[in-house]
């Protein structure tokens, strides 16, 4: 199975979720993160002191899917998350050896 990590803009969460659910993804796990990249950060000013805040808020979505479904998920996520502006984020795909559903004890693709 493959784990697909999608780093995207916070306001894209709904669109990506809808897109993935649309092609049949049944579950995902989302976390709040801060990203550093080409997009650059922004300036904040407190009582005249400027701070360069390099980190911008992003959302990280983890989805684990069957091997041969992965490409489709990546494509759907990419499209939904795309704005074309710097800072759109990245998708990382890696291999998962085993998946277990806690409720039933099922393993492998059944458990996804």
């Amino acid at each position: 199975m493959k784990k697909i990590e999608i780093i995207t803009r916070t306001f894209k969460l709904d669109e990506v979720k809808t897109a993935l659910a649309g092609i049949g993804v049944k579950g995902m796990t989302v976390g709040e993160v801060k990203g550093f990249g080409r997009q650059g950060g922004h300036k904040e000013v407190y009582r005249g002191a400027e701070y360069q805040v390099d980190f911008v808020p992003k959302i990280k979505i983890d989805v684990v899917v069957e091997d041969d479904f992965a490409a489709q998920v990546v494509e759907a996520a990419r499209k939904a998350a795309h704005t074309g502006q710097v800072g759109d984020g990245k998708i990382f795909v890696s291999t998962v050896d085993e998946v277990i559903r806690i409720r039933t004890g099922e393993t492998g693709e059944e458990a996804i």
Partner: protein, 400 residues
């Protein structure tokens, strides 16, 4: 001069001042966290901007020598002749300065109320200019018409503490602004969920507390009338908080904390024009209606689809209008409403409602268009995505 009344009204003025930070929190908790500071700022900075304008020219436009029932003259510009004694004071029992500063606090909160309508998408410089013009061109005349010797007061319109001057005026302006500025980016597709409801409840608590200064203080004396207005305020608010949560409960949901807070504010708004004219039991009736009606108004808005972000129209516009009309029905103290057989009062109230909505909507329209065309008002999509805190103020509300 009466020093008891002076003591009472000075403390009431402090209470009313405290309402504006209260409103800032009430509104601040309702927006998304990336807009919390910008929202708070649009209330808080009114304490600065409006107070200065009021001292320089606002007060005299409202309470200077009447010119044709429409506006005050410039006699008190720069607070000339507004002193420690009661010389020239519209309230003979109070030092002129006391009367002026009590009124100042009302002027401060009114434009702050409007800001809920265009929350999460208004640029700050334009907001300042809009608010300054609105204060001088809408609030000051309205205030003059009702309390400063102008035509509405002369006609006999009842407005104890600002149903028309404060709430209908800001509600009408809010409707106009919400329509003109357009929706927030993502409206209809994204969920706009309050980011910090305890902050909103705290704001509602402060508003309730400060409103005693607003309404009881509007008796301008520490007498039995002040006690009566105090009691009416409290009971109407209690009733509206209850009727709102019952309404949402019955309507198929659950009673919510935000509903209780919103109902309380709706009750405070609706009792404002009536506070000194109605009995305790009439206040309860009035409040029960306020909770249900304002709840209904907000359900309706969700269907109409204009983006009045924090429901200024539904609460202040509708609540203030309802309260003004209800005053014409329920008044029994120092005035006679429909229940005492005086249908004329209701007619006068109706006229004042129409005049207020018409005048305020139209003037707001003009001011908005002018400021939009010159300074610019709406933040672009990129700024909205970033959040107004970073975009307009280079700050963020919270850090981890």
């Amino acid at each position: 001069m009466n020093f008891i009344d002076n003591a009472f009204i000075l403390i009431c003025a402090a209470l009313v001042m405290f309402m504006t930070p209260g409103l800032a929190l009430f509104y601040g908790g309702l927006v998304r966290s990336k807009n919390v500071l910008a929202t708070i700022m649009q209330s808080f900075i009114m304490l600065g901007l409006v107070s200065l304008l009021w001292a320089v020219v606002g007060y005299t436009l409202a309470f200077g020598t009447d010119i044709g029932g429409l506006i005050g003259g410039l006699d008190f510009a720069f607070l000339e002749g507004v002193g420690m004694d009661n010389a020239g004071s519209p309230a003979e029992n109070l030092p002129h300065l006391t009367f002026m500063i009590f009124q100042c606090m009302f002027a401060v909160i009114t434009p702050a109320l409007i800001s809920g309508a265009f929350a999460e998408r208004m640029k700050f410089p334009g907001f300042l200019v809009f608010s300054a013009l609105w204060l001088l061109l809408v609030y000051a005349p309205m205030c003059h018409w009702v309390w400063g010797g102008g035509w509405l007061g002369e006609m006999g319109a009842l407005d104890f503490a600002g149903g028309a001057v404060v709430h209908m005026s800001s509600g009408a302006a809010a409707l106009c602004c919400a329509i003109l500025i357009g929706k927030r980016k993502g409206y209809g597709s994204q969920a706009f969920i309050p980011h910090n409801l305890p902050m909103t409840i705290l704001g509602a608590g402060i508003l309730w507390f400060g409103w005693f200064g607003f309404n009881a203080g509007s008796a301008l004396a520490a007498d039995g009338l002040a006690a009566s207005a105090f009691v009416a305020t409290h009971l109407a608010t209690a009733a509206a908080a209850m009727s709102w949560i019952v309404a949402e409960w019955v309507h198929g949901g659950k009673p919510t904390t935000l509903g209780a807070a919103s109902g309380a504010v709706a009750g405070l708004v609706a009792i404002t024009p009536a506070a000194g004219f109605v009995s305790p039991m009439a206040a309860i009736v009035l409040g029960l209606g306020a909770g249900v009606i304002c709840y209904g108004a907000i359900i309706l808005k969700n269907k109409l689809g204009y983006d009045d972000a924090l429901d200024v129209v539904g609460i202040h516009g509708v609540g203030g209008t309802y309260g003004a009309l209800a005053t014409g029905v329920l008044a029994t103290i120092g005035a006679e409403g429909l229940i005492l057989g005086n249908g004329h009062q209701l007619w006068v109230q109706f006229v004042s409602v129409v005049a207020t909505w018409g005048f305020c909507f139209a003037m707001t329209y003009v001011i908005f268009k002018v400021v939009d065309a010159t300074v610019g008002l709406k933040a672009d999509d990129a700024a909205q995505d970033k959040g107004m805190d970073i975009a307009e103020h280079s700050e963020t509300g919270y850090q981890w």
